[in-house]
């Protein structure tokens, strides 16, 4: 099969189209998420409430605003806006950490969920919850975050130790699945000995959801994710050198050992942050970078990093919308929706890769 030959201009046009398209989708997704729900809010009202917040607020305080405006104001500022922002930030982080892990493992199906990182975080959360149940009634947020962060990092180290040597996709999958089985076994063991009341937090967390966050959570996750994403973007050049293999990366003057550490640290921070704030949201890390590759027809990190972040944000916002509206009033876990879309992509990836090898 002859590869299609494209000119530089055609490629530049494609990149522009992809980024403009993703930008438009991003804005649309934000609006759509705010608009749709048990109460639909008109675009004009959204516009007014978002951009003239203080004015609307004064009206509410003075009692001149209509009842629908009051409820719309509350829905937007207390529920939907922070939820959609959390979905955007964490979705971007998930996709980016997936892209980094794929670069690192040289394996297109590496991702925080597949490698068992989410299960590790859950296990640590269970340990901490059970350990603290005697002393506190509700585990404070920062401990939840710290525990899942620590669990993510630890599982990541295990995945690294075992998965580093294999370039075989199935092998990496097996390692990840085994790690998550081990972690789940420990978690289930602990749950057996815990009171129902103590583990409500854990059960809720295990579902994977962008809901229920406070503005503080949104702020903290943005503070972690956005600078990390910027750092990843600044590493585009060494990332592209690394893609040719460590030997060639080293031969053009990259300090491979230091870069490898940076890569692991950044992707761990991203996936740990997501796991801490939203719980296990599966397959976004695999599906989104893959969609971006197809759209861009390029693997250049300088394009892939921003595209993955944007696309991940859009993907998670849309999945969250589906999760809360399709079977309304029943709300699905966002992980259910992302799995339904992401898992087939993984299967398709493995099949098409196998076909390539045969050819």
């Amino acid at each position: 099969m002859a590869a299609p030959v494209t000119t530089r201009r055609a490629r530049a046009a494609r990149y522009t189209a992809v980024f403009v398209g993703l930008g438009v989708l991003f804005v649309l997704a934000v609006f759509w998420n705010i608009h749709t729900g048990s109460v639909d809010i008109s675009v004009r009202e959204i516009w007014r409430i978002l951009l003239h917040k203080s004015e609307v607020r004064r009206e509410i305080e003075l009692g001149t605003a209509g009842a629908s405006t009051v409820s719309a104001y509350n829905i937007i500022w207390k529920i939907r806006l922070k939820r959609v922002l959390l979905a955007a930030v964490l979705g971007g982080a998930l996709a980016l950490s997936g892209f980094l892990l794929q670069t690192f493992f040289r394996n297109p199906i590496a991702g925080p969920f597949v490698l068992g990182i989410s299960s590790g975080a859950r296990m640590f959360l269970a340990i901490v919850t059970v350990a603290l149940s005697a002393t506190v009634t509700r585990v404070p947020l920062w401990i939840t975050v710290a525990a899942s962060f620590f669990g993510s990092m630890l599982t990541m180290l295990f995945a690294l130790a075992f998965g580093r040597r294999t370039r075989n996709m199935s092998m990496l999958l097996v390692i990840g699945i085994m790690l998550s089985y081990i972690c789940s076994a420990v978690t289930d063991f602990l749950i057996n000995f815990a009171d129902e009341a103590d583990i409500v937090n854990l059960t809720h967390w295990s579902m994977g959801s962008f809901s229920g966050g406070s503005w503080q959570e949104v702020g903290v996750s943005a503070l972690i994710v956005l600078p990390t994403a910027l750092a990843v973007f600044l590493l585009s050049k060494p990332l592209s050198a690394y893609a040719l293999g460590e030997g060639y990366a080293q031969s053009v003057g990259l300090d491979v050992r230091r870069f490898r550490l940076a890569l692991i640290a950044l992707s761990s921070v991203l996936s740990a942050c997501v796991t801490a704030f939203a719980g296990p949201v599966s397959f976004v890390g695999i599906a989104v970078p893959h969609i971006c590759r197809i759209l861009l027809r390029s693997e250049k990190p300088i394009l892939m990093v921003p595209a993955s972040f944007l696309c991940g944000a859009v993907f998670c916002m849309v999945c969250d919308l589906v999760a809360r509206t399709v079977f309304s009033p029943t709300e699905l876990a966002v992980g259910t929706v992302t799995s339904a879309i992401g898992a087939p992509i993984v299967i398709w990836l493995m099949i098409s890769r196998r076909r390539e090898q045969k050819e």
Binding site: A243, G247, Y248, S251, R297
Partner: protein, 372 residues
């Protein structure tokens, strides 16, 4: 050596604490081509990996234009030294142009964006390896030969003073091997690029290299001009060829000679005998060859393969003793193979064979009935 561009001084290389090759001394001038030859696992790649700083040297010094390689900053080294490795490069969705532009890494800015000059260099490098036409093709879709040339272009895009290549000709067919080596020769000659590589093919090593180093038994066994270094005996020893043989003149190896009393007498000369000698060797038939002038082309193959060779001086008439020897030998064989080289002595021997009732054939394939 004075004016040496690359100098390895009492270098010991290996993994961890285990030395693979010890006490390496090598000096290369600018624009020279050096090849490391030696059996698999002798440590050629280990030497190259140490030189390119993928693994640390165990002891000794490596100097590049007088500067210690071990202490050069990575980027400075990358501006002087580029490599073509055996690592498999399998990026998806990456054009050959992209691969080559990866070589501009030491020169580009923080985001790795290419300037007009970078593009110029990349295109020039692609042209240098005759790969300009595949610049926009996906790297994964090009042939092995093209891939190796693109990887060489990537190294050249670093605008290096020295290129280090680890078995660059593996997996290439004859034509692509020659293409690649010709490009390297041109680089050395026209641009003064120094080349150090490991090669499996001794014949190619002796043809392209200014300097050959034999690596084996944990050391550099010999190092110098290929014609001085790649002698029959040394190559036999280096590769542990106990049964076959190596011919330095032709730069080729021969399989072991068939054992036993000669059963066929081959009338050769002028290079006509060679294919018959090889055919008989393949069939496992011991044979004698003659009467060959000592400078005849057939000699190079007859000597390692024939049980006996009857030789005569290069000039002057054939001595009667040689003719008698040949007749006596022919009496003891089952058949005579006429290689088709027409000479007075061959005509005489052919006549003798017919008179004494020997089976006379013109090709080894006709011999089956005799040999079976």
């Amino acid at each position: 050596m004075e004016n040496a561009y690359l100098q390895l001084d009492d270098l010991t290389v290996g993994y961890g604490r285990e030395a693979v090759v010890s006490h390496i001394c090598l000096a290369l001038r600018r624009g020279e081509i050096a090849s490391l030859v030696g059996p698999n696992g002798s440590g050629k790649s280990t030497i190259l990996k140490t030189l390119t700083r993928r693994i640390p040297a165990l002891s000794g010094k490596m100097l590049l234009a007088g500067a210690d390689i071990a202490s050069l900053p990575g980027r400075r080294l990358a501006e002087k030294m580029a490599s073509v490795l055996t690592d498999r490069v399998t990026p998806a969705l990456t054009t050959c142009f992209d691969i080559v532009s990866a070589g501009r890494y030491p020169y580009t800015g923080g985001f790795g964006l290419l300037t007009a000059r970078d593009r110029e260099v990349v295109n020039a490098c692609l042209a240098m390896v005759n790969a300009a036409s595949i610049a926009d093709r996906d790297f994964a879709s090009v042939s092995d030969g093209q891939r190796q040339r693109v990887l060489l272009a990537r190294a050249l895009a670093q605008e290096p003073e020295i290129v280090v290549l680890d078995e660059p000709t593996s997996f290439l067919d004859i034509r692509h091997k020659l293409d690649l080596l010709e490009i390297l020769r041109g680089l050395a000659r026209d641009r003064g690029v120094t080349v150090l590589m490991s090669l499996h093919e001794l014949d190619l090593a002796s043809k392209i290299s200014d300097l050959v180093a034999c690596v084996g038994q944990g050391q550099v066994l010999a190092c110098g001009k290929p014609e001085e270094i790649l002698t029959d005996d040394r190559v036999r020893a280096l590769y542990g060829l106990e049964r076959g043989s190596y011919n330095a003149l032709l730069g080729s190896v021969e399989l072991p000679r068939p054992a036993g009393e000669p059963r066929v007498f081959v009338l050769g000369g002028g290079g006509r005998g060679i294919r018959h000698y090889r055919a008989l060797q393949k069939a496992g038939v011991p044979f004698a060859a003659g009467v060959l002038p000592e400078n005849d082309l057939d000699m190079a193959v007859a000597l390692p393969l024939a049980q006996r060779v009857i030789v005569c001086p290069a000039t002057g008439p054939v001595p009667p003793a040689a003719l008698d020897d040949a007749k006596a030998l022919m009496d003891r064989t089952d058949a005579v193979l006429d290689g088709g080289f027409i000479s007075e002595i061959n005509a005489a021997l052919l006549r003798y064979a017919r008179e004494s009732g020997k089976q006379v054939v013109t090709d080894a394939s006709e011999l089956t009935e005799v040999t079976l």
